[in-house]
């Protein structure tokens, strides 16, 4: 072989997320309807590093995947902890976890990944509703370590339904508990009454709380609010006549496809041999975030902030579509 010989066959690339088979090493009742599970490698091997705000996929079977925030300490490289709220009205994932996962059971997981990272700041306001407290626990630990000032407002149906209250006790009056049955809804208008530079707001909880917080933050500096959703944000009805077809050009792989009204970008790409990393297929997990090189995406995810949407630099190709006739993606 001489210098400059080109490969005679093209090389293909297959993307996947780190998958691991773990085992439940502890299961604890944390509050009414909330359990925590501690997961570890069965051989005692180290788990991949993560940062506060990260979540993992729990693969209940080939088709049922649920996302759970890691709520232990990032310094513990051998154990991951998740909090799981039993949602009787849900799609059944949390019920399966509650009913079937016990100490010693195997659990397949993917990740971790993080779309709710704790950015550096001098001050934080954290707003948690119900099981939305989970990602806040490692964040508050990190914020405390970093010497930042912070306050947590934690709302729940009733005191009995609020998990991890005991662990929060060490933070004293930086934590405000707000059980709805005795105190009503979280007073977001008071909590967020004075917009300020240099304060970051982190919010995780049910859709009602997220929407109300987003509304309350309209007067805050762009980029101050960070939210995490575990269910897709309700989308406005599709325009009259439904969705239309558009063209997608994958610049790196040199593939051009037509996306019909009844299929997602990701489905069509996969049919055409373009491998895209994805997980939830609902626009909540952020795994399929893709850079947009040209064209205007129709963002339908629950993840990008308004500010990020307007730049049109990235989109989630599992739910997103196009406002232009053609999209060019970095794939």
């Amino acid at each position: 072989m001489t210098l400059g010989d080109a490969p005679t066959t093209a090389m293909s690339t297959v993307f996947s997320e780190r998958r691991a088979d773990l085992v439940v090493t502890a299961r604890n009742m944390r509050a009414e309807g909330v359990i925590s599970l501690t997961l570890a490698d069965p051989t005692g091997a180290k788990l991949p590093a993560w940062t506060p705000g990260a979540h993992i996929d729990v693969l209940l079977d080939d088709t049922v995947v649920r996302q759970y925030s890691l709520c232990g300490s990032p310094g513990d490289q051998h154990n991951w902890r998740i909090g799981v709220l039993l949602d009787p009205g849900g799609r059944g994932g949390s019920r399966r976890v509650h009913e079937t996962m016990n100490v010693g059971d195997a659990v397949a997981v993917r990740g971790p990944r993080n779309h709710f990272p704790l950015l550096a700041a001098d001050r934080y306001v954290s707003i948690a509703g119900g099981i939305g407290i989970a990602p806040m626990l490692p964040m508050l630990e990190a914020a405390t370590d970093a010497g930042a000032a912070w306050q947590l407002f934690y709302g729940g149906r009733s005191r009995e339904s609020m998990a991890f209250v005991g662990e929060l006790a060490r933070y004293g009056d930086r934590v405000t508990l707000w059980p709805e049955d005795t105190r009503g809804m979280l007073p977001l208008d008071e909590i967020l009454s004075s917009p300020s530079d240099g304060v970051l707001i982190y919010c995780c909880g049910p859709e009602g709380l997220l929407t109300a917080t987003e509304r309350q933050c309209a007067a805050w500096p762009v980029g101050a609010l960070h939210v995490e959703r575990f269910a897709a944000k309700p989308q406005p009805e599709a325009a009259v006549g439904g969705d239309s077809a558009f063209e997608v050009v994958c610049r790196r792989s040199g593939v051009t496809v037509m996306v019909p009204p009844d299929k997602s970008i990701i489905e069509v790409l996969e049919e055409n041999g373009v491998s895209v990393l994805s997980s939830c297929l609902e626009g909540v997990c952020g795994t399929c975030e893709t850079a947009v090189l040209a064209g205007t995406p129709d963002h339908r995810d629950s993840l990008l902030t308004q500010e990020e949407r307007e730049t049109n630099e990235y989109m989630m190709v599992c739910v997103g579509r196009a406002l232009s006739d053609r999209l060019e993606l970095d794939l």
Partner: protein
């Protein structure tokens, strides 16, 4: 979203290799890390201390001074510092001026590497440095060295995660599978790491592989390669040659590179290689030294030229499909950098 890559693009909240265990003794070792001067020394307890290499008094590098009873004595006026960085003696007066201290940095020794944390001290407690036990355990023979390059550390990560430059830059170091039958690259991502793996169809060995393992040159072997971006500070390659039929041995070579930014345009590479075969054979060690060192030296002029001519291009050029792992590494670093960008309450 994109942090300004290519300039001051190294996360501070990360463990970096400052030295190897054998380099840190009961004497003062000066190192430039992340554009800061740091002095390292080993105390009589065996623990290593890392201090700002700059006297609080008149800014003389403390590494010019001397180490006396685990304390650093400045060469200029004899200001004396404990391993915590506190000034404990000023010879010209009886008391120590208020606030006289130098910054001390958290250190973790995981032989053969000495890791230092230059970021927020409290954050260091919840992060452990990576560890490669094969570099010190029995059953492995290691070799290594260090090399400085006039290139940003991300150019080195990018280069380490990329196999497609081998036929062009290192053509005499690869086996035929690289060119004739490159297998799919499987990329595995997690929040802060990315790795690629590929398994080649059986092919004859490259000359150096045959020299090192002693395996026959006239038959074919299955080979597997994995490269992992472990953190912004560490890249680990594993190369396995599976024994021929009837031989269940796996000839594994590990090539571990710590990339420590000296400043935005210079990087110190502290490297180690380990193998689980020919453990006692010095000539194999020397053959492998030439391969590992030679590969880096062959990359050096290209990477230094990119740095010299187009430093702003780092992390922003057109990418090919085979760059997927490197792109992910840039994204990981980008996310770490944006987490560190402080929003201040004072404008």
């Amino acid at each position: 979203m994109k942090a300004s890559l290519g300039r001051d693009n190294y996360p501070l909240n990360c463990w970096y290799v400052a030295a190897t265990s054998d380099e840190v003794n009961a004497s003062l070792l000066a190192r430039q890390l992340l554009d800061r001067r740091v002095v390292l020394f080993r105390q009589s307890t065996g623990e290593i201390a890392a201090l700002d290499d700059r006297c609080a008094h008149r800014a003389v590098p403390l590494s010019l001074g001397s180490l006396v009873d685990d304390q650093v004595v400045c060469a200029y006026h004899g200001f004396t510092y404990a391993s915590t960085g506190a000034c404990v003696r000023v010879p010209s007066q009886t008391h120590v001026p208020y606030g006289a201290r130098v910054r001390s940095y958290p250190v973790r020794e995981r032989p053969p590497f000495v890791w230092v944390w230059l970021g927020n001290v409290a954050r260091s407690r919840s992060v452990e440095p990576p560890d490669v036990p094969e570099l010190r355990e029995s059953g492995w023979t290691t070799l290594g060295g260090s090399l400085q390059m006039a290139a940003n550390y991300m150019l080195l990560h990018d280069n380490a995660l990329d196999r497609t430059h081998f036929p062009y830059v290192h053509p005499h170091r690869i086996h035929r599978g690289y060119v004739e039958d490159p297998p799919p690259l499987r990329i595995e991502v997690a929040e802060t790491t990315v790795s690629y793996t590929r398994t080649f169809s059986p092919a004859p060995l490259a000359d150096w592989q045959h020299d090192a393992t002693g395996l026959a040159a006239d038959i074919t072997y299955t080979q597997r390669e994995t490269g992992t971006f472990v953190s912004p500070a560490l890249h680990v390659d594993e190369m396995d040659i599976l024994g021929p039929e009837g031989d269940s041995r796996v000839f594994r070579g590990m090539f571990v590179r710590a990339f420590t930014p000296i400043d935005p345009a210079h990087t110190m590479i502290i490297w180690r290689a380990a193998r689980n075969y020919a453990l006692q054979d010095e000539s194999v060690t020397e053959r492998l030294r030439e391969v590992y060192e030679g590969t880096m030296v062959e990359d050096q002029p290209l990477l230094e030229t990119i740095q010299a001519t187009a430093p702003d291009s780092i992390g922003s050029g057109v990418s090919a499909a085979a760059d997927a792992a490197a792109i992910r590494a840039y994204q990981i670093v980008d996310a770490l950098l944006s987490e560190e960008r402080v929003r201040s309450t004072t404008r």
